[in-house]
């Protein structure tokens, strides 16, 4: 049963959460009653391994509570959507879209985020070199300028959202974008591929940095995983 349903096309193609979101992403899928659902991915490091930039307490809550809740609610919405589609209940299908967007987006974004971070003793914070490094210099003049821009955009974002370093697949240019709430980067452009995302929802920093979001943004660069960003960049520009 498992092998046959693992690759079942029973699931609808519109829900992008089934397919890998970025190159190398392993957004674990599991089977529940024949429906392909999402699962909480494991972190590649301990909760406390990003200290002092991000506290272990925040990492634990962020992963085990917030991300888990998005996964749970996304799966619930998918199951309801499957039923609604089967019954031809268009009202229910439409009504479920916001829950899918919120929670599916939350799952997508956080799955990328955990890979964007790395402990310092495993290379976190080491600046990008070669291809991505040159692209940053070309499109932003310098890494410092890019960091400054992302920090400014992240600090100015009202309410909850994300700030992204994005690659435009069409033009092969890098750009900085923000999205509101849990909107994934593609909502800002179908050609945009996320290389780095920084969560600026208050839950991402409040216990440690309180209202001083700029301090969180300044410090997170010490644990940013540029290696992952380079891999995605190279794959998309190959």
């Amino acid at each position: 049963m498992a092998l046959r349903t693992l690759f079942s096309k029973k699931a609808f193609t519109t829900a992008s959460g089934f397919r890998p979101i970025a190159a190398g992403d392993r957004c674990f899928l599991r089977q529940a009653r024949g429906l392909t659902v999402a699962a909480l991915p494991d972190l590649a490091y301990d909760y406390g391994a990003l200290e002092p930039a991000i506290s272990g307490e925040i990492m634990r809550l962020h992963h085990q509570k917030h991300h888990q809740a998005y996964v749970t609610n996304y799966n619930n919405a998918l199951e309801q959507l499957e039923t609604a589609v089967a019954k031809g209940d268009a009202s229910a299908v439409v009504r479920l879209q916001s829950a899918i967007k919120f929670n599916g987006g939350g799952h997508i974004n956080h799955s990328i985020f955990w890979k964007n971070l790395k402990p310092v003793n495993e290379g976190g914070g080491e600046p990008p070199h070669s291809t991505l490094g040159w692209a940053i210099d070309t499109d932003f003049c310098s890494l410092e300028a890019l960091v400054q821009k992302m920090n400014a955009e992240g600090a100015a974002l009202q309410g909850s959202g994300w700030v992204w370093l994005a690659l435009d697949k069409g033009s092969k240019k890098l750009c900085v974008e923000t999205t509101a709430n849990q909107d994934p980067l593609v909502t800002k452009g179908a050609n945009l591929v996320p290389l780095l995302g920084i969560d600026v929802w208050e839950h991402a920093y409040y216990l440690q940095y309180k209202n001083v979001r700029p301090d969180y943004l300044k410090n997170i660069w010490k644990v940013i995983n540029w290696k992952y960003a380079s891999e995605v960049f190279d794959e998309e520009t190959a």
């Binding site: 600090a155 929802w201 839950h203 409040y206 216990l207 309180k210 209202n211």
Partner: protein, 301 residues
């Protein structure tokens, strides 16, 4: 997009003392083509109002630490940013309600809207709660709750649902909604107090219902900073405690009385205007008929 030096979440480090707020020198202002000296004007600007209780008196339901940050940092930073942005402009000296509505700009908000609205919202929020709050409302407020929601418990359920499904940052509200028509000079032809209702709403980020011409009665802040130190991710627990232990139904009731009176006054103004419009139409019709006729004697002649 304008980038403020003080963002909506405050760039103030905890170690700095709070800045003075009551009066400040306005920025250089052009007048008649001549720049006034920098110290020529004092603009009386908006103040950070303290809550009507001490910062530790809401414990254990809302900690002193939360109040110190929420009121002392977030709310304070919005007041400072707002004063900074309105200084020397047309909005300087306006009342806060007006600044909120004007800066909302019919859904295309100006950069200062977030600060104006968050100052308004937080003033309103601190007044909505009190030590030893909770319980049940009574009198006219309870009657209207039962009329418009079926029961008090059903209103609470709806309020909780709004608070929990406001995705991202925002607020949930109980408002008094007057049955007014939205179109320019149109007047409700059958005005009746029964058309006015209590309604539960939610709004994103800084938006508040006065921009839709509703009368807010109760608000709960569901930005994460409002509950994260005390409840972490458990927004549901925060909302339940807010309703069971903190909300001041007396304040909500007073606001309802004001809202009902305001709605009645506006209905009277509408009625007066409608009568004046009717009279104008009648008068002009009579003149028309008179001029058309060439057999009657004219009073004017």
């Amino acid at each position: 997009m304008q980038h403020h030096t003080l963002s909506c979440c405050g760039g103030v480090r905890p170690s700095l003392p709070p800045p003075p707020l009551s009066f400040r020198w306005s920025k250089i202002k052009r007048e008649g083509g001549r720049r006034l000296p920098r110290c020529a004007r004092i603009a009386a600007q908006l103040e950070l109002k303290p809550p009507p209780y001490s910062l530790s008196s809401l414990e254990p339901h809302m900690s002193r630490e939360t109040l110190e940050y929420h009121w002392g940092r977030h709310h304070r930073a919005h007041v400072a940013s707002l004063n900074n942005l309105i200084a020397g402009t047309d909005l300087d000296g306006m009342g806060l309600d007006e600044i909120v509505v004007v800066s909302y700009n019919k859904g295309n908000p100006l950069p200062l809207f977030v600060h104006a609205a968050q100052v308004w919202n937080h003033d309103f929020f601190w007044q909505s709660i009190k030590p030893g709050g909770g319980g049940r409302p009574s009198g006219r407020l309870m009657e209207l709750i039962e009329r418009d929601f079926g029961s008090f418990d059903r209103m609470l359920e709806e309020f909780k649902r709004a608070a929990l499904t406001q995705f991202g940052s925002g607020w949930a509200w109980l408002v008094y909604k007057a049955n007014r028509l939205d179109v320019g000079n149109a007047v409700n032809p059958c005005p009746s107090e029964k058309g006015n209702k209590l309604v539960v709403l939610k709004s994103p980020n800084a938006v508040n219902p006065i921009v839709w011409d509703y009368s807010p009665l109760l608000a709960i802040d569901v930005w994460e900073h409002a509950y994260y130190l005390d409840y972490e991710n458990r927004r549901a627990d925060y909302v339940s405690i807010f309703l069971e232990k903190l909300v001041s139904w007396e304040v909500v009731s007073d606001r309802l009385d004001v809202a009902i009176e305001r709605a009645a006054e506006r209905a009277r103004e509408d009625e007066t205007r409608r009568q004046e419009d009717d009279a104008a139409v009648t008068h002009s019709e009579a003149v028309e008929m008179y001029l058309d006729s060439d057999t009657d004697d004219s009073e004017a002649e």
